[in-house]
C-alpha cells in the first residue's frame, strides 16, 4: 500500500511543480491542470489501453494534445483580463470532463478501465513498485524543466508578468508571447504527468480528473509556497501521505480516508492562507555581490545647439478619441538628440496620453510616430522599446516582490536566457551571460546612486528611491529616447535636486529625454524646448521663458509666475 501511495505522491508533486511554475512564477491563475492531466490520462488509456499503442508513443501524443489545447485556450484567454482565464479554464475543466463522461468510446461515466501491460524501455509496469522509477523520473524531469525556466532570465520575465504585465511590456518584453509559452509548456507537462498517472492507476475516469484533484494540487502549491519548487515537492509528498496515514495508522476505510483527506486539504488551505499566505517555504530572491565597478559616464563638454541637433523622434498628427472624448487632437512634436524636451499643461490635458500614443500602449486613430525615420505606429509596445523608445510611469510601477537589481536586470535587452531554445542547451553560457546582465544592472543602479539597495525588495523603497530605480530600469533598456512621466513629482526638495542632476546626467550621456512635469523649476532648469498642452492639443511651444511670458498661458496655467 505504501509504495502505491509513494507513486501517487511523486506524480502529484510533479503536478504541483508545474502548477507552481504557472501560478507562482507567472501569476496566471488556471484551474484546468486537472483537466489537462485528464487529457493526458485519457490519451494513453485510449491509445495504449484500447488500441495497444506503445506506451511511450501514446505519452508523446498525450503531451502534444495537451499542449495544443493549452495553446488554443491561451490564445483566446491570455490577452484578456485575468478573470477570463479563470472562467475559461473552469469551463474547459467542466467541458472536457463532460466529453469524457458522455462518449461510449471513452467508456462513459465509468471511464476507460483495465489499462495494463504497459511497458517503458523494456520495463514491465505491473506492480506498484514498478511505477516508482517512472514516477521519480517524471518528477525529476518536470522539476528540472520548471526550475530551469523559473530560475532564469525567462523566469524573471514570468515574475515580471506576475507583478505588473504592463510595466514588464514597457521594458521591451513580449508579455503575451511569454504567457502563451508558459501556458503551453505547463499544459504539455501536465499532459505527460496525467499520462503516467493514468498508467499507474490502470484507468482513466472522469472523477479522477475533477475538481478534487485540481484542489489537491492547489493545496500543495499553496502549502509549499508560491514560486518555490522544492516546497511544492515537499508539500506534494507530505499531503499525499495523509491518506495512507489515515488508513494505515488510524484505521479508516479507504473511501472514508479519501474523503477525509479532501476535508483536511480544504482546512489546511484556509489555515495557510490566513496564517502564512506565503507558504511554508517562501519565494527566495537573487543574491547579489557588492557593486564592483562604477559606471563611467563621460559628460560631453558642450551641449549641441538645440536646432542644430537632429530630430530623433517625430510625431505628426496623432489623434485619439475615446467615444466622444478627444484625448489627443493632431499632436505633432519633435525630440532632438541629446536635448531635454518638456511637456507641460494642466491636469487632464492629455500629456500621459501622448506618452501612451508614442509608445504604442494606445493605438492612435490617426497620425504617425517615427524614430530615426522608422514608423512606430502599429508596432507592439515591447517592440517600440526594442526600437529605442522607453517610458517611465507616473505611478512608478516597480515590480514589488522583485529586488531592485532584478527590476533593472529585467530591463536589459537581448538576454540569451530569455529564449527557450537557448535555455536547454547544456553548458554554463546562460549563467555566465546572466552574471554579465547583473553587472550591467548594477552599473545602472550605481549610476542613479542606488547600488547599495540592489538586494532590497522594491516594495521596501521610499517613493523617491523607487523613482530612481525606475529611471535605472529605463536606462538599462539602452533605449535612445526616454519619456519620463513626472520624474520629480511627489518628492521633497532634496529629491528634486537629485532627480534634476540625474536627468541632466542622462542627457549628457547623449540620450534624448522628454518629460512631463508640473514642477516648473525642474522644467526651467532642464528643458531646451517646451510644449504646452491643454484639452488634448498642443497650443504653444518654445522655451519656457517664452511660454511663461504669454499672458494667456500665464492666466490659464502658470498662475502668478
Amino acid at each position: 500500500m505504501w509504495v502505491n501511495y509513494l507513486d501517487q505522491a511523486l506524480l502529484l508533486a510533479a503536478l504541483a511543480v508545474t502548477v507552481n511554475l504557472l501560478v507562482g512564477y507567472a501569476g496566471q491563475v488556471s484551474v484546468a491542470h486537472a483537466a489537462f492531466a485528464g487529457v493526458g490520462g485519457y490519451t494513453i488509456a485510449y491509445l495504449s489501453g484500447v488500441h495497444d499503442w506503445p506506451y511511450l508513443a501514446s505519452l508523446a501524443v498525450a503531451v502534444l494534445i495537451a499542449t495544443a489545447f493549452g495553446v488554443v485556450i491561451g490564445l483566446i484567454a491570455l490577452g484578456l483580463e485575468q478573470e477570463y482565464l479563470i472562467l475559461m479554464t473552469l469551463a474547459f475543466s467542466l467541458g472536457i470532463i463532460g466529453v469524457f463522461a458522455t462518449f461510449d468510446s471513452l467508456g462513459g461515466v465509468m471511464g476507460l478501465t483495465g489499462v495494463d501491460g504497459l511497458r517503458l524501455f523494456g520495463l514491465e509496469l505491473e506492480e506498484p513498485s514498478d511505477w516508482l522509477i517512472p514516477s521519480a523520473v517524471v518528477l525529476a524531469l518536470v522539476f528540472a524543466i520548471c526550475r530551469r525556466l523559473g530560475e532564469s532570465p525567462y523566469g524573471r520575465i514570468l515574475k515580471g508578468i506576475r507583478e505588473d504585465a504592463v510595466a514588464t511590456r514597457a521594458l521591451g518584453k513580449n508579455t503575451f508571447g511569454h504567457k502563451i509559452g508558459i501556458f503551453a509548456i505547463t499544459s504539455g507537462l501536465t499532459g505527460l504527468i496525467g499520462g503516467v498517472y493514468s498508467g499507474w492507476l490502470g484507468q482513466a475516469t472522469p472523477s479522477a480528473f475533477g475538481f478534487p484533484l485540481a484542489m489537491a494540487v492547489f493545496a500543495m502549491v499553496i502549502v509549499g509556497g508560491n514560486a518555490n519548487l522544492p516546497g511544492s515537492i515537499v508539500a506534494g509528498v507530505g499531503l499525499t501521505m495523509i491518506e495512507p496515514v489515515l488508513r494505515g495508522v488510524l484505521g479508516f476505510q479507504s473511501t472514508q480516508a479519501a474523503l477525509l483527506q479532501v476535508v483536511l486539504y480544504g482546512a489546511l488551505l484556509v489555515l495557510v492562507m490566513i496564517v502564512r499566505p506565503q507558504g511554508l517555504f517562501p519565494e527566495r530572491s537573487k543574491r547579489v555581490a557588492a557593486p564592483t565597478a562604477r559606471a563611467t559616464v563621460a559628460p560631453r563638454p558642450e551641449r549641441p545647439d538645440e536646432h542644430a541637433a537632429d530630430v530623433v523622434l517625430r510625431a505628426e498628427g496623432l489623434s485619439k478619441r475615446f467615444g466622444g472624448i478627444v484625448a489627443a487632437r493632431d499632436i505633432s512634436l519633435e525630440l532632438r538628440r541629446g536635448t531635454v524636451t518638456a511637456l507641460v499643461g494642466p491636469n487632464g490635458a492629455g500629456k500621459t496620453t501622448v506618452f501612451n500614443l508614442l509608445t504604442g500602449t494606445i493605438a492612435p486613430d490617426a497620425g504617425s510616430v517615427t524614430l530615426n525615420g522608422a514608423e512606430l505606429v502599429g508596432m507592439r509596445p515591447d517592440l517600440v522599446v526594442r526600437a529605442g523608445l522607453v517610458r517611465t510611469f507616473q505611478d512608478v510601477r516597480l515590480l514589488n516582490r522583485l529586488t531592485c537589481l532584478e527590476n533593472v536586470m529585467l530591463a536589459v535587452p537581448d538576454q540569451q536566457g530569455e529564449r527557450l531554445g537557448r535555455l536547454f542547451v547544456p553548458g554554463r553560457a546562460i549563467s555566465r551571460a546572466d552574471r554579465g546582465v547583473a553587472a550591467q544592472a548594477l552599473e545602472w543602479l550605481d549610476f542613479v546612486g542606488m547600488a547599495d539597495q540592489a538586494a532590497t525588495p522594491s516594495d521596501a523603497l521610499s517613493y523617491g528611491q523607487s523613482k530612481l530605480v525606475s529611471l535605472a530600469r529605463a536606462l538599462a533598456t539602452r533605449a535612445d529616447v526616454l519619456l519620463l512621466d513626472e520624474p520629480a513629482s511627489g518628492v521633497d526638495a532634496a529629491w528634486v535636486e537629485t532627480m534634476l542632476s540625474m536627468v541632466a546626467a542622462v542627457r549628457d550621456e547623449g540620450r534624448t529625454v522628454c518629460l512631463v512635469e508640473h514642477n516648473l523649476d525642474v522644467v526651467r532648469e532642464l528643458s531646451d524646448h517646451t510644449y504646452f498642452m491643454e484639452l488634448g492639443e498642443i497650443t504653444a511651444s518654445g522655451t519656457l521663458a517664452e511660454l511663461t511670458g504669454s499672458a494667456r498661458l500665464a492666466e490659464a496655467y502658470f498662475g502668478a509666475q
Binding site: Q82, L259, V270
Partner: protein, 304 residues
C-alpha cells in the same frame, strides 16, 4: 413526421425556457457577488448543494413537513454563504493583499470541495431520496410541463426581478451599487463595505438555495450537483456583465438554456454538455479579437 418534429421543438423550447430562467437566476446571484465583492466565489456550488441536503436532514431526521424543511434549507444556504465571507474570504483577502483574487479563488475551491466531501461522509456518495409534495403535469398545446417546472421558472424570474428592484429602490441596494462602481470611494463616503459584502453573499446564498431546492425536486440531489451548475452561473454572470443590472442575466440565461436544449435536437445528446463551453469560447474569442482589432486596422491615415 413534420408535426412530430414541430411538437418536439416546442417541447425543447419550453424546457429551454425553464432551464434558462434557472441559469439566469444563478448567474444574477453570482454576478452580484463577483461584481460587488470581487470574490471569485466558487463555493457558490457548496451553498447550492447544502440547501437540499439541509432540507433533507430536517425532513428526514426531524420528521418536519416539506415546506418548513425547504425553508430551513434556504436558511442554511444563506447562513453558509455569509459565514464563508466572514470566516474565510474576508480574512484571506486581507492577508493576500494584491493577490486576493488568486487566494480567494483557491480557498473557495478548497472550501467547496472539502464541504462536499463532508456531505459525502455524512450522507454517502449516492443521491438522496429528496421528495416534495405531489405535482401534476400540465399540457399546453403540444408541450408538457410539470407544476414544479412552472413554479421553478416563476421563482427564478421573480428572484431576478426582486433583486433588480432591491438594488434600485432600497438604501442598501443603492449602497451596493455604489460599492460596485467604486469600493474605495464608497468607503470614503461612509458606506460600510463589509456590510454591503455580507448582504450580497446573503442574497447569493438565497438564490443558490432556492434554485437548488427546485432542482432537487425536479431531478436528483447528489453531492456533485453543484459542479456543473456553478460553472453555468459563472458563464451567465460574465456574459451578462458582473457589473450590469441583474435583468441582463435573463436574456443570457434563457439564450443559453434554449441553445442547450435546441442543440440536443440536432446534435447527439453527448455534445450538449459542451454547449456552454462553446458559447463561452466564442464570446471570449470575440473579446480577444475585438481588443486587437484597432491594431489590425491600417493606421497610415496621415492628415486624416
Amino acid at each position: 413526421m413534420h408535426d412530430l418534429l414541430g411538437a418536439e421543438l416546442w417541447q425543447l423550447t419550453a424546457n429551454g425556457l425553464v432551464r434558462g430562467a434557472f441559469y439566469a437566476a444563478l448567474g444574477a446571484g453570482l454576478a452580484l457577488v463577483i461584481g460587488v465583492t470581487t470574490r471569485f466565489h466558487f463555493a457558490y456550488a457548496l451553498t447550492y448543494t447544502v440547501a437540499p441536503y439541509a432540507a433533507f436532514w430536517v425532513m428526514d431526521g426531524l420528521g418536519a413537513p416539506f415546506w418548513p424543511s425547504a425553508l430551513a434549507g434556504l436558511g442554511a444556504a444563506v447562513a453558509l454563504s455569509v459565514l464563508l465571507e466572514t470566516a474565510v474570504y474576508e480574512p484571506v483577502a486581507r492577508r493576500a493583499a494584491d493577490r486576493a483574487m488568486l487566494a480567494v479563488l483557491v480557498t473557495s475551491i478548497g472550501v467547496s470541495t472539502a464541504g462536499i466531501a463532508l456531505l459525502q461522509l455524512k450522507f454517502g456518495t449516492s443521491s438522496l431520496p429528496f421528495y416534495g409534495p405531489q405535482t401534476q403535469r400540465h399540457e399546453i398545446g403540444p408541450v408538457q410541463v410539470s407544476g414544479f417546472e412552472l413554479q421553478q421558472a416563476a421563482t427564478c424570474v421573480l428572484l431576478v426581478l426582486v433583486l433588480t428592484v432591491f438594488l434600485a429602490r432600497t438604501p442598501i441596494g443603492r449602497s451596493i451599487k455604489a460599492v460596485r462602481s467604486n469600493p474605495a470611494l464608497a468607503a470614503v463616503l461612509g458606506i460600510g463595505v463589509r456590510r454591503v459584502n455580507l448582504v450580497c453573499f446573503a442574497a447569493a446564498g438565497l438564490i443558490s438555495g432556492a434554485c437548488a431546492l427546485w432542482y432537487g425536486l425536479l431531478y436528483t440531489v447528489q453531492p456533485t450537483m453543484g459542479d456543473t451548475t456553478v460553472i453555468y452561473g459563472f458563464v451567465v454572470a460574465f456574459l451578462a456583465g458582473t457589473r450590469a443590472s441583474p435583468l441582463r442575466a435573463l436574456p443570457v440565461g434563457v439564450g443559453l438554456g434554449l441553445l442547450e436544449q435546441w442543440a440536443s435536437n440536432w446534435l447527439s445528446l453527448q455534445w450538449t454538455s459542451t454547449a456552454v463551453f462553446v458559447v463561452l469560447t466564442g464570446y471570449l474569442a470575440f473579446l480577444a479579437v475585438r481588443d486587437r482589432l484597432p491594431r489590425l486596422r491600417p493606421v497610415s491615415l496621415k492628415g486624416a
